[in-house]
């Protein structure tokens, strides 16, 4: 626990000190990662702790964003004085109300049916919003400008970053504190055994509504921060993609651990930021990562880390070092092979390449991994095979070894890692 606290404080210090040294592009990417982290944490209150899988959380995120943009417009035109730093409060309040209302209906159902109700609600909003110009500004959306507040102009990205950071840290702190309250523990019971809540004399439906509304409220704060940072809000914020992304973030990070979704959101948003500038297939990579995590680490990245922390005294670290290094190497080989094949296909099958072939009549060499490759040279296609096959074999060996070493100490956790290699083959293509 002490180590965790030190780690969090160190991370916080880094988040405070580092950004001024980065370019505005990175500062903005960090703002987005922080917002995604808060959204995922809020979403996970419902999913990870309450056991209710929502496919329409974009609705509450978007409501927060639109509330704030309306308020910002009023402030900009001088109708209402409202400090910029407190704007998310308004988003939170309206999202809370909407969440309570939607939650009342959605929580009448459970399981798949609950997921479908949330999906239908969000889709309903998404399909109606573009027709309601006064409220959502049509397809162009609404825009405004941040007004100076508390001596800050909020003109620079850095100032917005610190505003976002403060709100995200406070909200994640509150969400964490929530899990420690008696009501937070009741939420967990909701996931594990709803019957028991009833027998204990609590109102299960009422409890679910409250959880739903709180989750919506924090999603609304995330949406508010997005609106403040972008200074616009558009109906596409209600789209399925936004709902889908938070699901992706949460489960890649691991929904059973409080910090899992936060890790997942940060990692994936920054991954998107870096990779989307390099390849157009970044969504493919994101999908592959998600499916691999679902298959081999059902508790997500956070789950794997947690398992290691829990077992840190029991594990034979020295003997594990070699297989871990081997697994990393083999994993890199498989990843390289996959990336090589995808990038090669992206280039060779593109319209530009076809045009070049039609123009010159020859298949020009292309560049991947800073090396030129001939399309029809056998080595070009032997190369990924040479990486993939031994990679998969080594991965399998390494995981078998890791499994044996883990099993010596405990039998219950992380059996999932071990059986990985065979199915990596399917995910890798």
């Amino acid at each position: 626990m002490r180590y965790a606290l030190i780690a969090i404080l160190a991370l916080l210090a880094l988040l405070i000190i580092a950004p001024p040294l980065l370019g505005t592009g990175w500062q903005y990417a960090l703002i987005n990662a922080l917002i995604a982290a808060l959204f995922a944490a809020a979403f996970n209150l419902l999913v990870g702790q309450g056991g209710m899988l929502s496919f329409g959380h974009a609705a509450y995120f978007g409501v927060g964003a639109f509330t704030v943009i309306h308020l910002m417009q009023s402030v900009e035109y001088g109708d209402i004085p409202f400090p910029t730093v407190l704007l998310p409060l308004a988003g939170a309040a309206v999202s809370l109300l909407c969440g309570a209302l939607a939650g009342f209906f959605a929580t009448m159902r459970s399981g798949v049916y609950f997921a479908l109700v949330t999906l239908a609600l969000a889709e309903l909003l998404h399909s109606l919003a573009p027709h309601w110009d006064e409220m959502f500004g049509g397809e162009a959306g609404l825009s405004s400008m941040r007004m100076p507040s508390l001596g800050f102009t909020f003109g620079s990205t850095l100032e917005v970053y610190y505003l976002t950071l403060s709100w995200v840290v406070i909200c994640i702190g509150l969400l964490y504190a929530y899990t420690r309250t008696p009501f937070g523990r009741l939420t967990l019971a909701l996931r594990d055994n709803e019957q028991r809540i009833r027998f204990m004399g609590f109102n299960a439906h009422g409890t679910k509504i409250v959880v739903f509304a709180i989750s919506a409220m924090f999603s609304g704060v995330a949406g508010s921060l997005m609106a403040i940072s972008n200074e616009t809000a558009n109906y596409s914020v209600f789209s399925t993609q936004v709902s889908a992304l938070v699901v992706l973030h949460t489960f890649v990070g691991g929904s059973t651990i409080f910090f899992g979704p936060i890790v997942g959101a940060c990692v994936l948003s920054l991954f998107t930021f870096v990779v989307s500038g390099v390849t157009h297939s970044w969504m493919l990579y994101q999908g592959i990562i998600f499916v691999l995590v679902m298959l081999f680490a059902p508790k997500g990245i956070g789950g794997v880390i947690q398992a290691h922390i829990e077992q840190r005294h029991a594990l034979p670290w020295k003997r594990l070092a070699a297989p871990y290094a081997l697994a990393t190497l083999a994993g890199l080989m498989v990843a390289c092979a996959t990336v090589f094949v995808v990038q090669s296909l992206e280039i060779v099958l593109s319209r530009e390449y076809a045009a070049a072939v039609a123009r010159t009549g020859e298949y020009a060499p292309y560049t991947v991994f800073a090396r030129e490759w001939q399309v029809f040279h056998p080595f070009t296609w032997l190369f990924p095979v040479l990486l993939l096959v031994p990679g998969l074999y080594l991965l399998r060996r390494a995981f078998a070894r890791i499994q044996t070493l883990w099993d010596k100490d405990d039998d219950d956790d992380n059996g999932d890692i071990a059986a990985a290699p065979r199915e990596l083959m399917e995910g890798g293509h």
Binding site: G23, T24, G25, W26, Y28, A29, N32, S127, P130, H131, G138, E139, A140, G141, S143, M145, G155, S156, T157, M226, S229, N230, E231, T232, N234, S236, V237, S239, Q241, F273, S276, G277, V278, H280, S281, W282, M283, R351, E352, A354, A355, A356, A358, R359, T367
Partner: protein
Amino acid sequence: MPRWITTAAAITALGVIAPAVQAEPLKIAIIESLSGPQTSTGRLIATAAEYVIDQTNANGGFNGEPIQVKEYDNAGDTSGAATKFREAAADGAHVIIQGASSAIGGQVTEDVRKHNIRNPDNPIIYINVGAEAMELRGKKCHFHAFHFTTTAPYRTVPLMQVMSEQGDLGKRVYSINQNYSWGRDMEAAIVDNADRFDYQVVDKVLHEVNRIQDFSPFVARIKSENPDSVITGNWSNDLLLLMKAVGDANLDITFGTIFMDQPGNVANAGDVAEGHYVAHSSNIELLDEAGTEAYKKATGHYPVFIEPTTLNGVGLFAEALKKVNFDGGDIDVNEIALAMENTTFDNGLGGMHVRKADHQAVIPIVVSQVASGVKYPVDGTELGFKPIKTVAGEDAIYPAQDSCRMRRPK
């Protein structure tokens, strides 16, 4: 890999000697939908824009340096565009080119406006090559935004004028459009011109955007009104599916369209496509053959759909660059913007320039008809777009909107 297009070799070949002081290279950011559903349009815009810049670079670049172009993928949504705008600004972009969506156009133009208010010493120019919403030239207009596409009334009026002259408009006109600002702009333009071209709007439909799979019910509804012609501003899937349903029903009514030249439409409509009209800002049939062949040689296809608009817009920008000279020193973006206001560019159909009041480009509009026996058949059919008449920009354009109040730099 970031595609910084550098043609240093070309410059050395031309013998341009770089000045002793490091010259500031002009940086252009293309913020487009390069993944996600609108990729096809975004890709075309990027291709055409890069083609023009490549040519400028082959002729020595700008300010003694090759122009640097970088593509930014906005993934087809506004928040992606916001992210990429900030990235581009951080990379020191002077110019942003975008076009595949009016919603994203709205985001980009607002971002540019706010950036320029906050950074008056480092302003950015927004070159809009595809977003057609009236609002961008109205309430959201500003000095650093230039719009090289048309808007609904800009294209609809020449379209109906030519159809009327050809006797194909008739007295009964049907309006079918998408239910968002563009479609509503279209519908308004169709209704407003009823007296001018002496017709009656027998029915007007606004339908959901890109959600309808089966357009045959709409065809049934059109058929039941028995119109002489149908005017539609539909684009992408909504036009493709409408054309397919029209083709399947063998409905022989003349369609006046804005985006018929988007690849795929003619093939899907089949034989009934013949005789349909399209109003576009360029027609390859009228262009200089050497130019179109050169384009094909570089990109693998003739300029289609949104590409000519992009070529024109970025072309005018490149022309304006010739008028300014920073002698290898720092680039003053405002000076480039002022030069753009005073540049006339020959796009092969006549001169085009930018109107000072709202920075809308004044471009000639070509009204063409789908016909066989053309030089450039499309979609693997025998049909292509036969130019009927070119309407000069001054005759086609409407007065600048009152809602545009542009503040010019001092």
